[in-house]
C-alpha cells in the first residue's frame, strides 16, 4: 500500500530549519488555496460546502465534522467574531501538532485565513501549549512573514477580506485544551471550562461568536480547497475523510509522527514505526491517555479511523497511539495516568475534583500492595459518579482509562490485591521502561 502524506509531505526534523519559512512554503505551492479563493471570488458558502464534502472531522479529539461546525457561525452578525486554533497539545501521548507547527506553520496560518474568510471572521488567535516555547516564537515569526507578504492583515491580497491573527501561549494547564477552558484562558483567567450550551458559536471569546478547531484540522484545509472535498474524502474512507497524523509513543522502534490515510490497518502503522522494540505487544491506547485501552488482539484487528476504533470500544481521539509491551504492569500504568487527571482537574466540579483524587488513591494503594477486595467495585462506583456529572469531559477522560484498564486487565488488578505484588516481575518492568532513544536521534537541548 503506498501512502501519500499531504500535511507533512516531504517534511521532517532534518529540514525543519528551512521548511517553516514563508519562502520555502511558497516554493511548495503555499498560499495557493487562499489566492485561488480571493482571485476567483469563491463564496464563503462554497468554501464551507467543500469542507463539508471532504468529511474532514475535527482532529482535536472529538471528531466533530469541521464544515458543519463552521456553518453554525452566525452569518449576519454585526459585531466581532473570533477564530481560535487549539495548539494546546497536552493530552499524554499527543505530539502531532508540534510537527505541523515546527515544520510547516504557514499551512496552519493559511488554513485559518481560509476558515476566517468562510465564516466572516476578522480576528483569530492560536493558543500554543506553554511547554513548547520555541513553537510560540517560531509562530510569531511566521505571522510576521505572512503579514509582510499580505496574507494576513488588512485587505488581504488586494481584496476586501481582513484577518488579523495572533499567538497566545499557555503556561502549563492541560485543561486549557478543552475549548471553553481555552477561551477563559485567552481572556486572562483561570482555565475553567464553561457550561455548554451556549456553545462557542453563539457565546465564545469575549462573549462573541467563536469557532475553535485543532491545528491539524486547519492544516488540512488548503489541500481540500485546492484538490476538492471529494478527493480528500477518497483519501480516507466514507465518513472518515482524508489522512491523519498519528503520534506513536512507547515500546516501538521508532516513536514519532506518522501520517496515514484514515482507515489504515493498525498493523501497517505499527510496521511503519519499525515494529515492537523488544517484547510482545500487550496493549495500545489508541487516542491519547483519555481513550480506553485496548488489548493487543483487539487493536491488531482495528483500522485507524473514528468508526472502527469506536466499534472496538475506544476512541481515535487525537491520534495519539501509546504502545505497551508485556513488560508493562497495567496497574502501574493506570496509576500514573490517574495521577495526571488528579493533578490536572481544574477543581470546579466536585465529582471530578474529588473523584480523580479517589481514583488515584485507590489505584495507588492497589499498586503498592494495600489493595482491598472491594477496591475494584469502589473504582467502578467512583467512575460512575464522575461520568456525565461534570461541566467538561475531563471527568470522563479520567474515568474511561480506569474502566477500560480494570475491564481488560482485571486479572492483573485482582492479582495485585490478592498477592500484594505485581504479576510482572519488577526487574522485567525496570528493563522494559529503560531509557530508550530512537535510532539516529541525538540529544538536543
Amino acid at each position: 500500500m503506498s501512502i501519500q502524506p499531504i500535511l507533512l509531505a516531504g517534511l521532517d526534523a532534518s529540514t525543519a530549519d528551512r521548511t517553516w519559512r514563508l519562502a520555502d512554503y511558497m516554493q511548495r505551492g503555499g498560499y495557493a488555496a487562499l489566492k485561488k479563493i480571493l482571485a476567483e471570488n469563491i463564496s464563503p458558502e462554497a468554501v464551507i460546502n467543500e469542507v463539508k464534502k471532504s468529511s474532514l472531522r475535527g482532529r482535536g479529539g472529538a471528531g466533530f465534522p469541521a464544515g458543519l461546525k463552521w456553518s453554525f457561525m452566525p452569518r449576519n452578525y454585526s459585531g466581532a467574531k473570533y477564530l481560535v486554533c487549539n495548539t494546546d497539545e497536552g493530552e499524554p501521548g499527543t505530539f502531532k501538532d508540534r510537527d505541523l507547527m515546527r515544520f510547516n506553520p504557514h499551512q496552519v496560518i493559511e488554513g485559518m485565513a481560509i476558515a476566517a474568510y468562510a465564516m466572516g471572521v476578522e480576528c483569530g488567535y492560536n493558543y500554543i501549549h506553554g511547554e513548547v516555547w520555541d513553537l510560540y516564537t517560531r509562530f510569531e515569526e511566521a505571522l510576521a512573514e505572512a503579514r509582510a507578504a499580505g496574507f494576513i492583515g488588512q485587505k488581504i491580497l488586494g481584496s476586501n477580506f481582513n484577518f488579523e491573527l495572533f499567538a497566545h501561549h499557555g503556561w502549563g494547564a492541560y485543561i486549557c485544551g478543552e475549548e471553553t477552558g481555552l477561551l477563559e484562558s485567552i481572556e486572562g483567567k483561570k482555565g475553567q471550562p464553561r457550561y455548554k450550551p451556549p456553545f462557542p458559536a453563539s457565546y465564545g471569546l469575549y462573549g462573541k461568536p467563536t469557532t475553535i478547531n485543532n491545528t491539524e484540522t486547519f492544516a488540512a484545509v488548503p489541500w481540500i480547497i485546492l484538490n476538492g472535498g471529494e478527493k480528500y474524502l477518497e483519501l480516507g474512507k466514507p465518513n472518515n475523510g482524508g489522512t491523519k497524523l498519528f503520534s506513536v509513543s512507547g515500546h516501538v522502534v521508532k516513536p514519532g509522527v506518522y501520517e496515514v490515510p484514515m482507515g489504515t490497518p493498525f498493523p501497517v502503522l505499527l510496521e511503519m514505526c519499525g515494529g515492537m522494540r523488544n517484547g510482545k505487544l500487550k496493549a495500545v491506547i489508541p487516542g491519547g491517555s483519555s481513550a480506553p485501552v485496548l488489548p493487543a488482539d483487539i487493536i491488531m484487528d482495528c483500522t485507524l479511523d473514528y468508526d472502527s476504533i469506536a466499534k472496538a470500544g475506544s476512541m481515535l481521539g487525537s491520534g495519539a497511539v501509546i504502545v505497551m509491551d508485556e513488560s508493562v504492569c497495567m496497574v502501574k500504568a493506570l496509576e500514573r495516568l490517574s495521577y495526571f487527571y488528579f493533578e490536572e482537574s481544574c477543581g470546579q466540579c466536585t465529582p471530578c475534583r474529588e473523584g480523580t483524587g479517589w481514583l488515584y488513591r485507590v489505584v495507588h494503594r492497589i499498586e503498592h500492595g494495600q489493595g482491598r477486595p472491594e477496591d475494584l467495585d469502589l473504582l467502578n462506583s467512583v467512575t460512575e459518579n464522575i461520568m456525565g456529572r461534570t461541566i467538561c469531559a475531563l471527568g470522563d477522560a479520567a474515568a474511561l482509562p480506569v474502566r477500560s484498564f480494570t475491564k481488560h486487565f482485571k486479572s492483573e488488578f485482582e492479582y495485585h490485591i490478592e498477592n500484594k505484588k505485581c504479576m510482572v516481575p519488577p526487574e522485567v518492568q525496570r528493563e522494559g521502561s529503560n531509557i530508550y532513544v530512537t535510532p539516529n536521534r541525538v540529544p538536543s537541548c
Partner: protein, 158 residues
C-alpha cells in the same frame, strides 16, 4: 518594579487583544515578569495586575492556576522532567532518578547552592522525543540520556 525591557515585552502582548481586554495579556505578562525576577512574589504579581488594570487577586488566581509559574523562589536552573506514561515507557522515570541522584535532591527541592531545582512534569506534548526535560520553562531538552544530562549539568555549572 518591572524593567523597561519587560514592560516593552508586555506591551507587545497587550497589542494583540481588543483595547478593552488588556487582561488577556496577563499570562504572557506574568511569564515575562517571572523571567526577569526568577519567580513571582506577591508584589511582582500586583505590579503586573496594576499595569494591566486588573485586580491583584485576579492576577494571583492566574499565577496560582497554571503550573509553570513559580510562586516561591527556585534555583537558577529549574529542571522539569516529564514522567507521564508515554515518556515513562522510554525511560522518563529513570532519567528523573538519575537527576535526583546526581543533584542529591528530590522533586520540588533545590540544591543548597541554589543552582538547581527539580520538578516532576506532566506531558509536554513532545513524547516522541522521550526522555525529555524542560529547562527554565523555555528550553526543551530532547532524548536526554545520562550522558546528555552529564553534559548539560557541566555546561550549566561552568
Amino acid at each position: 518594579m518591572l524593567s523597561q525591557d519587560t514592560l516593552k515585552k508586555i506591551d507587545h502582548e497587550v497589542a494583540k487583544y481588543p483595547a478593552d481586554q488588556k487582561q488577556s495579556a496577563v499570562m504572557a505578562a506574568l511569564a515575562h515578569a517571572q523571567d526577569e525576577k526568577g519567580w513571582l512574589a506577591q508584589e511582582t504579581i500586583a505590579c503586573v495586575a496594576e499595569y494591566l488594570g486588573m485586580a491583584p487577586m485576579a492576577a494571583y488566581e492566574v499565577a496560582s492556576f497554571y503550573n509553570m509559574y513559580d510562586l516561591a523562589p527556585v534555583g537558577k536552573h529549574k529542571l522539569t522532567v516529564c514522567t507521564n506514561l508515554p515518556c515513562a515507557l522510554s525511560g522518563g522515570v529513570h532519567v528523573a532518578d538519575y537527576l535526583k541522584q546526581k543533584l542529591g535532591i528530590d522533586f520540588n527541592e533545590t540544591t543548597p547552592d541554589g543552582m538547581f531545582t527539580l520538578k516532576e512534569g506532566e506531558c509536554m506534548g513532545v513524547c516522541g522525543d522521550a526522555p525529555v526535560l524542560l529547562m527554565n520553562n523555555k528550553r526543551m531538552c530532547s532524548y536526554m540520556t545520562p550522558e546528555a544530562i552529564d553534559k548539560l549539568l557541566d555546561e550549566l555549572k561552568s
